[in-house]
């Protein structure tokens, strides 16, 4: 089965050593997704798989046949930025921009996790059905995405604004399933 990348079918690579990240960048030339540490520590390579965020550097592409991958290129509509991309510009959510595609994909995945009621390390009532969203929750949930420019405050501002005012734009890409029972 092919891998679906932003809606297009892509063949699984013959060499099982090819990571999902390398497939995206080197073979499909979708260079929005960035190589940072290449060891799962920085989040620059974050993409969405069936709406869930993962680090594509530690994913072998062969494991993802039949799955739907969304990268930062799949978020905008033509030249129209996704609302979260626009909010990153508005709130200075970056300086160099290298971590930005990973931050944006990660934030979308995060919105889906909150929608599904998945708690985090800072969730006080871990048994609660719904998550009480707060800045602290966003900070903890985004801790897998590092920004060496230190734009974290702007990043959280941008996410908070879109989460508050245009949540559907986030959840649209985070395919919502029923929570596991």
């Amino acid at each position: 089965m092919p891998i679906l990348v932003n809606g297009s079918a892509v063949s699984v690579p013959d060499d099982p050593r090819v990571s999902l990240l390398d497939l995206l960048r080197e073979q499909l030339h979708l260079t929005g997704t960035k190589v940072g540490c290449n060891q799962g520590a920085c989040g620059a390579c974050t993409v969405l798989v069936d709406g869930e965020r993962i680090v594509s550097c530690l994913a072998l592409a062969v494991q993802y046949d039949g799955r739907e991958i969304t990268t930062v290129e799949g978020l905008s509509q033509g030249d129209a930025l996704h609302p979260l991309q626009a909010a990153f510009v508005e709130h200075d959510g970056f300086q160099c921009g290298y971590c930005t595609p990973g931050q944006i994909c990660s934030a979308i995945g995060m919105a889906g996790e909150i929608k599904r009621g998945i708690p985090s390390h800072v969730t006080e009532d871990i048994g609660a059905e719904t998550i009480a969203v707060s800045r602290t929750e966003f900070q903890e949930r985004m801790s897998g995405n590092l920004c060496r420019c230190g734009a974290h405050n702007g990043i959280i501002d941008a996410i908070s604004e879109v989460y508050r005012e245009d949540r559907d734009a986030l959840e649209r890409f985070a395919f919502i399933e029923e929570p596991a029972e």
Partner: protein, 328 residues
């Protein structure tokens, strides 16, 4: 990365057939194995993908919970029964790694992840008995702030990095295994070995053995449980010390207790000495501190990690006090 072949198994028996050799590895989420292969610390010739197997969580009539080895860390932490009946497990998982990695990593893979000792990872620049038996250990005389204080040996001072496994140790979990010789089970606390003179042999698994599930016993006590992780930053870092605990107090005395430590040893460390001292005794901060000190009496500091002994004692005391509603 050394070349390897890849295949996917439809069931456990097929996975074991496909593996066939000790030079093969089972692949879960790949979050540790792929990294180690890229560093050429791991060089399997064959990967058998078992990430699609055993993905169910089953609540059984006797109150136990059967967790498939292929269940994702994030799925397990989000499961209602885990959050309400075993909060220590949900909290431990959520304290580990990042959301992205928890979405990939499996239960079986979490148990079998390798140490994050930097000398173990440094394939070209450091000696490591775990990586190359008999070569020597550069951590013992090196920078060993993150290393073990309990159960270490002259061969190895590495720690087991899992948070989830510490909670499972406290809960008395059982690990289900299928191998060439059929199915068997071992206590989670017996799965991992202390290093001794063979730190390269990390578990009691035989070549070709596949972890198929982890079982939690019905344990009403566990509804009053929690996990505290002390680390160098507020999120996304391995534990310096962590504590998993469940506590039941009646009339000011400890009616039942479970206690395990992470970040201190080559395996998740069930604190049986402390538990024995605590049982039936007063549920006070003083008693908690005394039990912690008894557990840590055999702790041996290296050059840089002596602080872990006091840190562990204080964290145990604080966590038990929190659960007892007492003042630490």
């Amino acid at each position: 990365m050394t070349p390897f072949s890849y295949s996917r198994a439809d069931d456990a028996a097929r996975a074991i057939d496909l593996a066939g050799t000790s030079a093969a590895k089972f692949l879960g989420g790949g979050t540790n194995l792929v990294d180690l292969m890229r560093e050429t610390v791991e060089r399997p010739i064959r990967l058998v993908d078992v990430s699609g197997l055993s993905g169910a969580i089953e609540e059984r009539e006797d109150g136990s919970l059967l967790i498939g080895a292929g269940v994702k860390n994030s799925t397990l932490a989000a499961h209602r029964a885990v959050r309400t009946r075993y909060p220590v497990l949900a909290r431990a998982i959520l304290a580990g790694a990042s959301a992205q990695i928890r979405n990939m990593a499996t239960v079986g893979g979490n148990l079998l992840q390798r140490t994050r000792c930097t000398y173990f990872y440094d394939n070209e620049g450091a000696r490591c008995n775990k990586r190359a038996p008999g070569e020597g250990c550069d951590a013992i005389g090196g920078f060993n702030r993150i290393h073990a204080i309990l159960g270490a040996s002259e061969s190895c001072v590495a720690t087991h990095p899992s948070d989830m496994a510490v909670a499972l140790a406290a809960l008395g979990a059982t690990v289900h295994i299928t191998g060439a010789g059929g199915a068997r089970s071992v206590a989670l606390t017996d799965l991992h070995r202390l290093p001794g003179d063979r730190p390269d042999i990390e578990t009691v698994l035989e070549p070709g053995d596949l972890i198929t599930a982890v079982e939690l016993p019905a344990l009403p006590l566990a509804a009053q449980s929690t996990y505290r992780k002390v680390r160098d930053r507020a999120s996304y870092a391995f534990a310096l010390v962590s504590v998993a605990a469940a506590l039941e107090v009646k009339d000011g005395r400890v009616r039942d207790v479970r206690l395990a430590l992470g970040g201190v040893a080559h395996k998740p460390w069930r604190a049986t000495k402390a538990e024995a001292l605590l049982m039936g005794g007063p549920a006070t901060a003083e008693a908690f501190r005394a039990a912690a000190e008894a557990e840590l009496a055999d702790a041996r500091p290296l050059n840089d990690n002596g602080f872990k002994i006091e840190l562990a004692a204080r964290t145990i005391t604080a966590v038990l006090s929190e659960l007892a509603g007492a003042n630490a």
